[in-house]
Amino acid sequence: MIRDLFRWSAQDLVVIGVFAAASKVATLLVALAGGGMNPISLIGKNLVFTTLLVVMLCKVRRPGTITLFTTISIIVSMLLLGASITLIPAMMAGALAAEAAMWPCRDSEGVWNCVLGAAVYDIVTKLGSLAVSWLLMRENPAMMLMVVPFVAAGYLGSLGGLFSGVRAVRELRHAGIIRQ
């Protein structure tokens, strides 16, 4: 039974790949369109990311989806974008915590289990990224003080993304793109 749970179809894998790309490009574009790392663009960036995450989790209802999504993002970011290797523990911890939170209600068809997974992923990843920021800027603690409000602003966007994700899923179900 466990083996069946983790057997991926080509369709699931393609959806995960498409959403990994969409989240990467959309968040980058929101950050650029907003003129860099100001609070509004940070909120928008995280809102878009969390909305996409909720939609993806509703589209691919399998245990391991968020871990695979994170793994793909990490591999591509590290090989092509030079993302720091220190981001891996925070992101993987977020993904595994989200999987654990979603596991008890894995058979439910509603949107709330996906929202719970995305919420846990966001909070654990944000806390982990703060720890990474300290590691990167330990030479100058003043810069760390600047990072904390920015991460908090980003988390506000993530919270908004949970609500917009629920609304987007409802719309997509209405349009027949996401099936129950």
């Binding site: 393609v14 369109a33 928008g44 590290m78």
Partner: protein, 276 residues
């Protein structure tokens, strides 16, 4: 979208977006390919840079990494693109320095000094130096072939390949949606983004979400029709060639990293305290 010439080279429409953005005087594809490094060797260098600049915290060690990576980026001979990237990075660094200065005025216990910013900024510069060669010279098809060459599991290779292939399509979709909104009279300027951020997000994001889901369904059907499955055999469009210069590049990167670690061990303790 993909255009392949008789010699098997893809046309410039399917190169990475960064390359198109910085289009300067580009050499012919076959010339460029023959004298450039293999994608896998560039990926190894990027991988090194995701670890060593974090591990090294002394100025001397970071200087070694920066010098080596700067020579690497200059070897591209794309001076205009490098200058534009450095100008953008300097702008962002100046902004961050101003914020840090402001915090030091508010919290006197955290004094501001340019020297204490040197190491974090050098880390960023090293990262830029290794990403630029990958972004400016690699084609998507080469990246896909290199990804396959890494012998990743099927469940990681397929989403990774789709991700790399989908990025230009997604950017094309964004351009189309933006044009549609402009035709309908919406202003997508910087000011409008600040005045009505939620409306702008809704106008741009909703069609893109629908497009992404539709594209994923189309790609999934195509993948199933082509019989892509775990254990399936893929034949690369053009086999990558690992040359002696690629081995040399990886060895030089490793040597620079080891030298930086040596500098860290040798002079790290005697550096300026704030830069440790």
């Amino acid at each position: 979208m993909k255009i392949v010439s008789e010699q098997g080279h893809e046309a410039s429409s399917c190169v990475l977006p960064g390359r198109k953005m910085f289009s300067g005087v580009n050499p012919r594809p076959d010339e460029e390919h023959s004298r450039s490094f293999d994608v896998r060797s560039r990926m190894f260098v990027t991988l090194f840079s995701s670890f060593f600049p974090i591990a090294v915290s002394s100025f001397e060690g970071q200087a070694v990494l920066f010098d080596a990576s700067f020579l690497y980026v200059l070897s591209l001979r794309r001076y205009r693109a490098v200058a534009i990237s450095y100008a953008a990075m300097l702008g962002m660094m100046t902004l961050a320095a101003l914020f840090t200065w402001g915090i030091s005025r508010l919290v006197p216990a955290m004094p501001f000094s340019f020297r204490s910013l040197t190491v974090p900024y050098l880390r960023g510069a090293v990262m830029l130096n290794v990403i630029l060669p990958l972004a400016l010279t690699c084609r998507i098809q080469e990246l896909l072939t290199a990804l396959k060459g890494l012998h990743l599991p099927f469940c990681i290779y397929i989403p990774g390949a789709v991700m790399i292939r989908f990025i230009p399509t997604f950017m094309h979709d964004i351009r189309q949606v933006s044009e549609t909104l402009r035709i309908r009279g919406y202003d997508l300027g910087f000011g409008e983004m600040f005045r009505h951020p939620l409306m702008m997000l809704r106008l741009l994001f909703t069609p893109l979400l629908f497009r992404s889901l539709r594209t994923s369904e189309e790609l999934a059907v195509a993948a199933e029709l082509k019989g892509l499955e775990a254990g399936g055999r893929f034949v690369p469009f053009r086999s990558p060639v690992w040359r002696g210069r690629d081995t040399m590049l990886v060895l030089l990167a490793l040597a620079a990293a080891l030298l930086a670690l040596y500098c860290q061990a040798r002079w790290g303790a005697s550096a300026v305290p704030a830069m440790r």
